[in-house]
C-alpha cells in the first residue's frame, strides 16, 4: 500500500507544472521576438497579455503593453503569479516542501537555476537579449526535468511528477494554438498567405516541432496541417494527443503498479478527453473552431486536475472545497473566462 503523503503528491504535481509553465512562457516570449524578426518589426506585444487573459492584472502594473513592459511582466514581475520568476519561485517552494523526498542533485540543480534566474538584470530582459535569456530559461527547465528523470526515485511520486508535466504541457499547447486568436482579438493578425506561412512556421518552432513537421510533411507549411500536427500527432512530445496519452499511462501506472484504484474518476476523465480528441480529428473545419476547441481542452484539464485533487491530494468534494494553496493561474482564469 502506498504511503506517499497526499501533500507530497500535490507538491510534486505542482512543482512539475511550474517547471513546464516557465518553459512554455519562455517559448511564447521567444515567439514574439521571432515574429518581429520575421515580419519587419511588427512589435505589438499586447497579444501575449490577451493570450493569458491577463489584461486586468497587467493594467494594474503597467500603463501600456510596450515590449519592455510585457517582457518585464512575464519575466520578472513577482506580483504577476504567471511570470517566469513567480513560476520558478513557486516550483521551488513546492520543492522545499518536497525536499525530504528529493535527491540532492535535484535540489542542487533547482537552487542553481533559481539563483541564476533571479540574478538576471534589466539588460537580460531587453529585446536585444530576450531570445538568449529565454533560451537559458528553457535549458534550465530541461535540466530540471532531466535531473528528475535521472535521479528521482521512481515510486508513486514519479507518476505524479509526469502528470504535472503533461497536464501543464497540454494546457500550454492549447494556449500556443490560441495565439492566432489572441492576435486577432488584439488586432495584430491580418490574413494573407505570406503571413500565415510565417506565422505557422514560428508556431512550429515555438513548439520545437519544426523539423519533425518537415520530416512528416516536407512540401509545404499550411495552417490546417500544422494545427493538426500539433494537436494529433502521436509521436510529437508536445502534441495534445501525446500529452493525453502520457496522462492516461500515468493514471494506469498508479492503478496497476501502486494499487491506487480510486483513480477511476480521473481515468474516465482522461478517456473522455481522448474521445473528444478523436471527434475533433474528424472535424474538417476544426481550424475555424480552434478557439472553442482550445477552451474545451483547458476546461477539461482543469476538471481532470480537480479529480486528481479529490482522489489523491486530500481535497473534499466540490461545494465545500477550499481553493488549493498553489493554484495554477491558468485555471482561475479559465473559470472566469
Amino acid at each position: 500500500m502506498s504511503s506517499l503523503l497526499s501533500r507530497y503528491a500535490e507538491n510534486v504535481f505542482w512543482m512539475a507544472r511550474y517547471f513546464e509553465r516557465a518553459e512554455s512562457l519562455a517559448r511564447v516570449l521567444e515567439t514574439q521576438t521571432s515574429f518581429q524578426r520575421g515580419r519587419g518589426g511588427d512589435n505589438s506585444w499586447a497579444w501575449i497579455v490577451a493570450l493569458y487573459s491577463d489584461e486586468k492584472t497587467f493594467a494594474k502594473a503597467f500603463p501600456e503593453p510596450t515590449a519592455a513592459n510585457v517582457i518585464r511582466f512575464y519575466m520578472a514581475h513577482l506580483e504577476n503569479p504567471g511570470s517566469i520568476q513567480s513560476a520558478i519561485r513557486a516550483a521551488r517552494e513546492n520543492a522545499r516542501a518536497l525536499r525530504p523526498m528529493m535527491p540532492t542533485d535535484m535540489w542542487y540543480q533547482l537552487n542553481d537555476f533559481y539563483n541564476r534566474l533571479f540574478a538576471f538584470g534589466p539588460s537580460d530582459f531587453s529585446e536585444m537579449r530576450l531570445s538568449r535569456t529565454c533560451d537559458a530559461i528553457k535549458r534550465g527547465c530541461y535540466a530540471q526535468v532531466g535531473v528528475a528523470e535521472n535521479t528521482l526515485y521512481h515510486d508513486e511520486t514519479w507518476p505524479f511528477f509526469r502528470l504535472g508535466l503533461y497536464v501543464e504541457r497540454a494546457d500550454q499547447m492549447s494556449r500556443l494554438l490560441d495565439v492566432r486568436f489572441a492576435q486577432q482579438q488584439t488586432g495584430v493578425a491580418r490574413d494573407s498567405g505570406e503571413f500565415d506561412y510565417t506565422f505557422w512556421g514560428i508556431l512550429l518552432r515555438a513548439a520545437s516541432a519544426y523539423h519533425a513537421y518537415r520530416r512528416v510533411s516536407p512540401h509545404h507549411i499550411d495552417p490546417q496541417g500544422v494545427a493538426r500536427f500539433l494537436i494529433f500527432d502521436s509521436k510529437l512530445p508536445r502534441s495534445l494527443s501525446y500529452c493525453l496519452g502520457e496522462i492516461q499511462a500515468m493514471i494506469e501506472l498508479l492503478r496497476r503498479n501502486f494499487a491506487l484504484s480510486h483513480a477511476a474518476a480521473a481515468a474516465s476523465q482522461v478517456e473522455a478527453m481522448i474521445s473528444g480528441l478523436e471527434v475533433a480529428n474528424k472535424d474538417e473545419k476544426l481550424l475555424s473552431r480552434l478557439h472553442d476547441f482550445n477552451d474545451w481542452t483547458q476546461l477539461s484539464l482543469m476538471n481532470f486536475t480537480e479529480e486528481l485533487s479529490q482522489a489523491f491530494f486530500g481535497y473534499p468534494r466540490p461545494a465545500e472545497r477550499p481553493a488549493p494553496p498553489v493554484l495554477g493561474k491558468s485555471e482561475t482564469q479559465m473559470a472566469s473566462a
Binding site: M1, L4, S6, R99, P100, A259, G314
Partner: protein, 493 residues
Amino acid sequence: MATITALKNPATVAPLDSYNSGHYYCELIGSRDERNHNLTALWHRLQQLELEQLRERSEDAERELFTLGITFTVYSDRTAIDRILPFDVIPRVITATDWRKIDRGVKQRIKALNLFLWDVYHDRKILKDGVVPADLVLGNENYRPEMVGYDPPCKTYIHIGGTDIIRDPRGDFLVLEDNGRTPSGVSYVVENRHLMQRAFPDLMQGFAIESVSEYGSQLADKLMEVAPAGIVSPQVVLLSPGVFNSAYFEHVFLAREIGIPLVEGRDLFVENDCVFMKTVSGPKPVHVIYRRLNDDFMDPEVFNPESLLGVKGIMRAVRKGTVTLANAIGTGVADDKAVYAYLPRIIRYYLNEDPIIPNVHTHICREADALQYTLENLDKLVVKPVGESGGYGICVGPKATKAELDLCRDQLKAKPSNYISQPMIELSVSPTLTDDGVEPRHVDLRPFAVTGEDTWLLPGGLTRVALRKGSIVVNSSQGGGTKDTWVLKEDFA
C-alpha cells in the same frame, strides 16, 4: 630550477604564524602550561597551507552550502532570504581519551535525567526525600500534569538529547546546559563533515577520525525500539512545524537520514485515539513521532488551543499508548536552569555515582551556605534568576557597578530561592579563520545522544564558535558559526 621552487614569496604568511591562545585552553595546542602533542601533525599541516588559499577554499565551501540549500530561511513579506550558518574550515579536534570521558559523562547524565523524569511523573521519591525541592519541579512551567502516570516505552523520555559542554582554562570539561526538549544542530555535524571531505581532503588525509554518518540509522533503531508494544513494523514520522520554521533544513535532513516521511500537523489526524497520516491511498497508522514542535503546540485540545501546527487529540493517543512521542511531553522540567543546579545530586541519588563531567560550579542560593558565599563574593560571581530565560535579570559581578551589586544583594536577600550563582565561565578557544588571519575564538561542544533501550552518542557533536573577537556567545542568532568536529580514533601521544 630547484632554487625557484624553493623560493617562497616573502609576503606569504603561514596561517598559524602569529597565533596566540593566551591563557585559554586551546583545542589544537592545549593549555599554556601543558601542550597537547596529539595534534602537532595537524598544526604542521595547517601551517603548510597559505592563508590566501585557506580563505579561497573557505569561500568555495560557503558557496557550496548555499547552493546545497543548507540554510536557515528568513521570511519577510514577499521574500524568502536563505542564509547559511557561517562555517569555519579549521576543524576542532577531540582526542580519543577526551571523547571516552565525554561519552561516558553524557550517557550518565541522560540516564539520570530519564530516571528523574520517570520519578517526577510517578512516585516523586526524589521530591519526598527532599533532594530536589518539590516546588521547583511541580511549580515549573514546563511540568506537565498530563504526563502523570504515563509509562513511556523503555521508560525513556529524552530520546534525543544535546548536552552543552565547555572547557575551562585547565582543560577540564564542564556541562553548561542539558537540552532535553528538541535540541537542534545535528544536521550541521554531518553536513560539515561532508563539506570538509570535499573541500579539504588533504587536511584530513592520514587522520583516523570517527565517522559521523551513522546518526540516521542509530536514531532510526532507537525510534523503532520505543514504538508501542506489539507493533511489528512501526511507522515512524518526523513532525515539523513546516517550511517556515528556521530549522526546516534540519528537519528535512533528519527525515532523509532516517528514511521517514516529514509530516506537518495537517498531515495527521486522530481517530479512536489512534494517529493516522493522510496518504494517496488513504489514512495510514502512525506509531512513533519524532516531533520538532514544542509541547505547547502539540495538541490544541490540551495545550495552546490556538495551535494550528499540532494534532488535535494526540495526547489521548499518547496516553492510550497507541503512539510514542520523541521526545516525550514534559521533559522541559528536567533541563530547566533551576533543576540543572541539582543535577550532580540527582546523579548521585539515582546512580550512586559522582558526575563524570561536572557542572559549572553552581551555588543554590536557597541554601544558607551558598547564599552566604554568594553574598560575600558578589563581585566575582554571575548571579542568575532561575525562572528567567534569555539572559534576563543576570548580574555579572566582575562587570557590575557598585549600584548594580547593591541591587543584586537586596534582591538576593529578599528572595534567595529565586537565584543561583556561578563563577565567570571561560570557554576554550580554537584556531579560527577571521578577517585578521587565524585567531583564537571561543568554542563550545554539543554532543548528541540518542536513547531507546540504551544510549548511543554521535562521535563528536556540534562545535559552535563565537566568531566575534572576545565573544563567548556561540548562538547562531548572535554571530556564532560552526566547525567540523573530529574525534580521533586513537591518540598519538
